[in-house]
């Protein structure tokens, strides 16, 4: 039984040559004095070449820890406890869990680059934007200073920063929030990675600036062909840019599928509830929203069985509170879909 499911999901057995990154049963835990936080607790995911995969979910559900695990950027005492992360490079697959520092350094920027919610936290404050891009480029490619600086200017221009010849010598604090995020993106793409991980890149920005940045990401993807893993808590943002989508709840992926399909016809009770609880433009004003009962439980107190069961309106007493649901592939008219919910286990 489990073997058939694995193949259907495109586990390592499948010769899926369009897969760029494959995450299998990833577990990243924080061993704290007062307990273990299972921030990522059995995530399976894959990113296809050139696609945008949105990771959505409420705060604390493990999106950032999952993403940071890929590049081994998890803060201590966080630790990868198990699982596999396979990056399919042109030269062949490499395993990232357990990779040595040298290999990871090579992969960072060159193959996988990351931008964060708050660009100020990842940009150095005492160096100009240009010198930071130059440094990143020269660390990974054998190019001279002048060539690297030209690359920096070209990238700043490409991400829509006006007067790049001048801005290349600007310090991060001299730029607006939107400009800083553009500069971060310029830096991330300077070495032409095949995967860009963007963790809430527009959350700190206004809707107008957010729209500009999302559009920029889309254009850059068309031009450079990189895949994007976009982490967001905003289903609207996911709808704008994503090809596929994974919904996370308490450290696991509960639903995965084509973005349009998941949004138009959510299957997992959590995805359904999330969509219902959102105010949407153009819906009747001043109506009550369908809230999800309760709240995301504290990370130590992970509920038994299906972690969503205390809040689920389809909960089956005696089952959902004891049995851990498996990923179930669903037969869909378009694309793949996987749901981690006991309601669907009979179907498969």
């Amino acid at each position: 039984m489990s073997a058939t499911i694995d193949t259907a999901i495109g586990g390592s057995g499948v010769a899926a040559d369009d897969v760029l990154l494959e995450i299998e049963d990833l577990r990243t835990h924080f061993l704290l004095d007062d307990g273990v936080v299972c921030a990522v607790d059995g995530v399976d995911l894959r990113v296809r070449k050139g696609e945008t995969l949105a990771i959505v979910g409420e705060s604390g559900c493990g999106k950032s820890v999952m993403a940071r695990s890929i590049l081994r950027l998890v803060d201590p005492p966080g630790q990868i406890e198990g699982g596999k992360i396979t990056l399919h490079r042109e030269s062949g697959p490499v395993e990232l869990v357990g990779a040595d520092r040298k290999l990871l350094r090579q992969i960072r920027w060159n193959d996988i680059a990351m931008v964060f919610q708050e660009p100020m936290a990842s940009l150095s404050l005492v160096h100009t934007i240009g010198s930071q891009i130059v440094e990143a480029v020269r660390l990974h490619e054998n190019v001279g200073k002048a060539a690297a600086r030209n690359r920096a200017i070209e990238m700043l221009d490409r991400v829509g920063i006006p007067m790049p010849q001048r801005r290349v010598d600007a310090y991060p604090f001299e730029l607006s929030g939107g400009m800083r995020q553009r500069a971060m993106i310029a830096m991330a793409l300077a070495c032409r990675p095949s995967l860009l991980i963007a963790d809430e890149p527009t959350t700190a920005l206004d809707v107008t600036t957010q729209a500009q940045i999302l559009e920029l990401l889309r254009d850059l993807q068309d031009e450079f062909g990189m895949a994007i893993m976009l982490i967001t808590h905003d289903l609207g943002v996911a709808a704008q840019v994503a090809d596929s989508m994974a919904v996370m709840y308490l450290g696991r992926v509960v639903e995965y599928g084509g973005a349009e399909q998941v949004l138009a016809e959510p299957r997992h009770p959590y995805t359904k509830a999330l969509l219902r609880s959102m105010p949407r433009l153009g819906r009747a004003a001043r109506t009550r929203l369908t809230a999800i009962k309760g709240m995301v439980p504290p990370p130590y107190a992970r509920p038994e069985g299906c972690a969503f069961h205390p809040r689920c309106d389809a909960v089956m007493a005696g089952r959902c509170d004891t049995v851990l649901p498996r990923r179930v592939p669903l037969r869909e008219p378009v694309g793949d879909r996987e749901v981690t919910c006991l309601l669907y286990e009979e179907e498969s």
């Binding site: 107008t208 289903l235 153009g282 809230a291």
Partner: protein, 346 residues
Amino acid sequence: MSTEPLLSIEGLTKHFPIRTGLLGRQVGAVKAVDEVDLVIEPGSTLGLVGESGCGKTTLGRCIVRAHDPTGGRMLYRQQDGAVIDVAGLKEKDLKTYRSEVRMIFQDPHSSLNPRKTLREIIGEPMRVHGYGTKEEIEARVGELLERVGLRPEYANRYPHAFSGGQRQRVGIARALALSPRLVVADEAVSALDVSVRAQILNLLMDLQEESGLAYLFVSHDLGIVEHVSDVVAVMYLGKVVEQGPTEDLYTKPLHPYTEALLSAVPDPDPAAKRHRERIKLLGDIADPAHVPPGCPFHPRCVYAKETCRTDAPPLREVGGRRVACHFAEELELRGVPDPDVREVSA
């Protein structure tokens, strides 16, 4: 609505001086709020939207008199029906106003004193305003906790023991302690998760229905504002550029900035993606320390004409709404399509 305004704001202005570092000489002013006119009806919700730095918080803080306005009037209709201007009132005369007009803050983490129990936090405004005996306050705190969906036993706990959503409920309980007539909610749900946000929005709407309080609901999230507001005002660089009944303003905006804002909102409905095209805003968010001449929006407006560079459009009545654009009548702007229409044509 049959009633007279609860609060009528006229020409409200708040300028912050810009000083040079060395001599502290004033070299200019940030026009954070610039000649704003607004009306808040009793029992209704006025939504306030606009990009970061456009003056929403400053306006809200002027209304609760956390800021002293630089100019203008705030005509407040008291319980007895008399109308007073609270813009220039001295602290000693503000006591009643302060008890009737309260604020809920954005950040439920930093706005509650971590060293005080919920009982002290929620009871404080009652003590300050001499609400009643210790026992009466105690009982009221329990009542309020229940009303916002928390257990009365929680009164002895400290804020750190609660989640963001629960802390925001505490903030709401505190704002409600004195049975206010107007609550200024500044990004009150912005820091919350989607599922919890819906609970808090429902709570705010229920409270309004029960006690007839009015809200000034400040948010940069246009979806939420549409959801809770009777009337919406759009701010740009310290000024209101459009104001009108929620549905009218969303379905048929009259100001190019409103149109651009609406078109930038990402909609989770996959059908919407195909139907909407973003209206491009030129350039970056504007700086209220350097307000452009003419129409302040002209450097970013795709419809700007020559006159826009030199002549500032006044806020004027157009079809039951107020809008500050020279071409409000001529432009055919796009709003949010009705979702039913959208589904039919999809």
